[in-house]
C-alpha cells in the first residue's frame, strides 16, 4: 500500500484497500460458519453470532440504488455532496458519496466503482478522505 493511500484512509480504516493494479476495494467480513458478508468489518456475525470471521475484499463495482444531492450537513463536509446507497454483488449495501459525477446524469441501477476521494476537512482544515463511488464510464471496465 502506498504512503499516499495510507494517508487517505483516515475515515475508512481497515474497511478499504487497493489491489496491485490500483483498483480501490472495500473490505468487509465474511462469516466462516454461515458465509454471511457484512460491511464495515465486524468481529461477530449478525446472522449466527459466530466470531469466526475473516476479511473479504468486496467487488470494486456495484449498482446505484438511490441518491440525493445533500446541501445541509454538519460542519466539515464538502457541500453539496451526493449521498448514495450502492449495492455490491456480495449482497452488501454501502452508504457512500458519489464523486466526479454530474447528478443529472445519474441513473437507478447504473454501475459505479469505488475510488478514494476527499470528502471534507476537519476543524484544523486538514482534509479527510474515504472511499466513494463514481459512475463507470462506457467502455471503462
Amino acid at each position: 500500500m502506498s504512503e499516499e493511500l495510507q494517508e487517505a484512509l483516515n475515515l475508512a480504516g481497515d474497511a478499504v484497500t487497493t489491489d496491485s493494479d490500483g483498483a480501490v476495494r472495500l473490505v468487509g467480513s465474511e462469516c466462516g460458519d454461515c458465509q454471511k458478508n457484512v460491511f464495515p468489518p465486524s468481529d461477530v456475525c449478525p446472522e449466527c453470532m459466530s466470531e469466526n470471521l475473516s476479511p473479504i475484499k468486496l467487488s470494486a463495482e456495484g449498482k446505484l440504488y438511490s441518491w440525493s444531492v445533500v446541501h445541509a450537513a454538519p460542519k466539515g463536509w464538502n457541500l453539496p455532496f451526493i449521498a448514495a446507497y450502492v449495492d455490491l454483488p456480495e449482497d452488501v449495501r454501502v452508504f457512500a458519496h458519489i464523486v466526479d459525477a454530474d447528478p443529472d446524469t445519474l441513473e437507478m441501477e447504473m454501475s459505479v466503482k469505488a475510488q478514494i476521494a476527499t470528502l471534507g476537512s476537519d476543524e484544523s482544515g486538514a482534509p479527510f478522505e474515504s472511499f466513494a463511488f463514481t459512475p463507470v464510464q462506457k467502455g471503462d471496465s
Binding site: 475515515l11 440504488y65 440525493s68 445533500v70 445541509a72 454538519p74 453539496p80 455532496f81 449521498a83
Partner: protein, 379 residues
C-alpha cells in the same frame, strides 16, 4: 391485562425556547395534563419521561418544579420514539396492574444545538461518512419516485396539506399556509427534498396521565381508551433493502390491528411521523389506508385532509408543529385525545371515534428505522 385510559392531556406550543431550561419548557405541559385529569399529584404512582437529547434525569429535573417527587421516575431514550416508548412502558405497568395512575412526559430542547440537521451518533458508520436524516428520506423519495411515478409536486402537496392543518393549531410552530410553488421554491436540503418538505426543529413538551379504565371513571367523564399498543425495533440488514416500503411500520400495524381487533378502515384519524413529507406518503400505505403505490392519489383526492375519509395529521403534523424529537410521541397522543374528545375547533375531525398515533426513530445504519411505536385509541 387491564384496560387502560387517558384521563389528562397537556402540551406547550412547540417553538424556539432557547432561553428556557428543559424543565421550564416542560412543567407547564405536565401541570396542564394533571389539572386536565383532575388528579391529585400524590395519586400519581410513577412517571415515564421520554427524551432523546435532554440529558440525564430529565424527568426528575421537570418534576421537582411541581413537587411530584418521591415516586419512581423512569427516563427513556429511543430517538424520535422516546416518548411513544415511554407511553408504551407506562401502559404496560397500568395494564399489568402494577400502578393505577401514571404520568407520561415527552420533552426536548433542540435549540441548544444551534440549528441544522439532527445531531446523530457519530460512532455509527454511515453517520461517520456523512449520513444525515434528510438524505436518508431523500433517497427513499427518489427510489419511490422511480418505482411508482411519484412527482415532486405530489411530495410538495404533503407539505401544503400539513401547513393548511397547522393554521388551525395554536400549538404548531408554522401557522401559515404555503403553496406548492412556495414549497418547491424553498431552498434545497437533500434533493429532491426542499426546506418545506422537512419538519422544523424546535423545543417542546407534552404530557398525559393514564389510569386503569376502572379508576378513570373517577376523573373523567370522557376517558380515552388505549385499545392497542405496539413497539418494534427494525430488522438489521446488511444487504439489499426496499426503501419504498417501511417494513417496521407494516409489521407493527399488522400486529396492532390484530391485537385491537380492528382494521385500517375503522380508523377515523391518524397522527403519523411526517418528519419529511415523503414519509407521510409511505405511511399511508404501510398503515393500510391505501394500496401500495396509491398514496399520492389518496392525498390528491383530499382523503387525508380534515373532511376526508381518513384525515392524517390534523394537528399539522411534524411539518407544521415542528419535531422536538423526544416530545413528539406524546404530543401526537395529546392531539388524538383532544380530537376524540371533540376539542379541536376548526381542525376537528367530525365524529372521530378511533385514532392512531405512529412514531418512528432512526439514525442507525442497517435499519429501516431503529424503532417504531404505534398506538390506537378510542372514545
Amino acid at each position: 391485562m387491564r384496560d387502560v385510559a387517558i384521563v389528562g392531556a397537556g402540551m406547550v406550543p412547540f417553538g424556539k425556547y432557547q432561553d428556557k431550561t428543559l424543565a421550564d419548557i416542560a412543567w407547564p405541559a405536565v401541570k396542564q395534563a394533571v389539572e386536565d385529569a383532575g388528579i391529585k399529584k400524590t395519586e400519581i404512582e410513577a412517571t415515564y419521561c421520554g427524551t432523546a437529547l435532554g440529558g440525564m434525569m430529565a424527568g426528575q429535573r421537570i418534576l421537582k418544579k411541581l413537587g411530584i417527587t418521591g415516586l419512581p421516575i423512569i427516563n427513556i431514550e429511543n430517538a424520535c420514539s422516546s416518548s411513544s416508548t415511554a407511553f408504551r412502558e407506562a401502559w404496560i405497568t397500568v395494564a399489568a396492574g402494577i400502578y393505577d395512575a401514571v404520568l407520561v412526559i415527552g420533552v426536548e430542547k433542540l435549540t441548544k444545538f444551534g440549528g441544522g440537521t439532527l445531531p446523530l451518533e457519530k460512532e455509527d458508520w454511515e453517520v461517520s461518512h456523512g449520513l444525515v436524516m434528510p438524505a436518508l428520506y431523500a433517497m427513499r423519495a427518489r427510489r419511490y419516485m422511480h418505482e411508482y411515478g411519484l412527482t415532486e409536486n405530489d411530495i410538495a402537496d404533503v407539505s401544503v396539506k400539513a401547513r393548511k392543518h397547522g393554521v388551525w393549531n395554536e400549538d404548531a410552530q408554522f401557522r401559515k399556509e404555503v403553496t406548492r410553488e412556495e414549497v418547491l421554491a424553498s431552498r434545497p436540503v437533500a434533493d429532491p427534498l426542499k426546506l418545506f418538505h422537512c419538519c422544523p426543529s424546535g423545543d417542546g413538551a407534552a404530557a398525559v396521565v393514564i389510569c386503569s379504565a376502572e379508576k378513570a371513571k373517577q376523573y373523567s367523564a370522557k376517558p380515552i381508551r388505549v385499545i392497542g399498543s405496539e413497539i418494534n425495533s427494525g430488522k438489521y440488514m446488511t444487504g439489499y433493502r426496499d426503501m419504498t416500503s417501511p417494513k417496521i411500520t407494516l409489521r407493527g400495524a399488522k400486529q396492532l390491528y390484530e391485537e385491537a381487533g380492528i382494521g385500517p378502515e375503522d380508523v377515523d384519524l391518524a397522527e403519523v411521523h411526517d418528519a419529511f413529507a415523503i414519509a407521510e406518503l409511505l405511511y399511508y400505505e404501510a398503515l393500510g389506508f391505501c394500496a401500495k403505490g396509491d398514496a399520492a392519489k389518496l392525498l390528491a383526492d383530499g382523503e387525508t385532509s380534515v373532511g376526508g375519509k381518513i384525515p392524517v395529521n390534523p394537528s399539522g403534523g411534524l411539518l407544521s408543529k415542528g419535531h422536538p424529537i423526544g416530545s413528539t410521541g406524546v404530543a401526537q397522543i395529546v392531539e388524538i385525545v383532544r380530537q376524540l374528545r371533540g376539542q379541536c375547533g376548526q381542525r376537528q375531525v367530525e365524529d372521530a371515534k378511533v385514532g392512531l398515533t405512529h412514531c418512528t426513530g432512526g439514525g442507525v445504519s442497517g435499519f429501516d428505522h431503529g424503532v417504531c411505536s404505534i398506538h390506537l385509541f378510542a372514545r
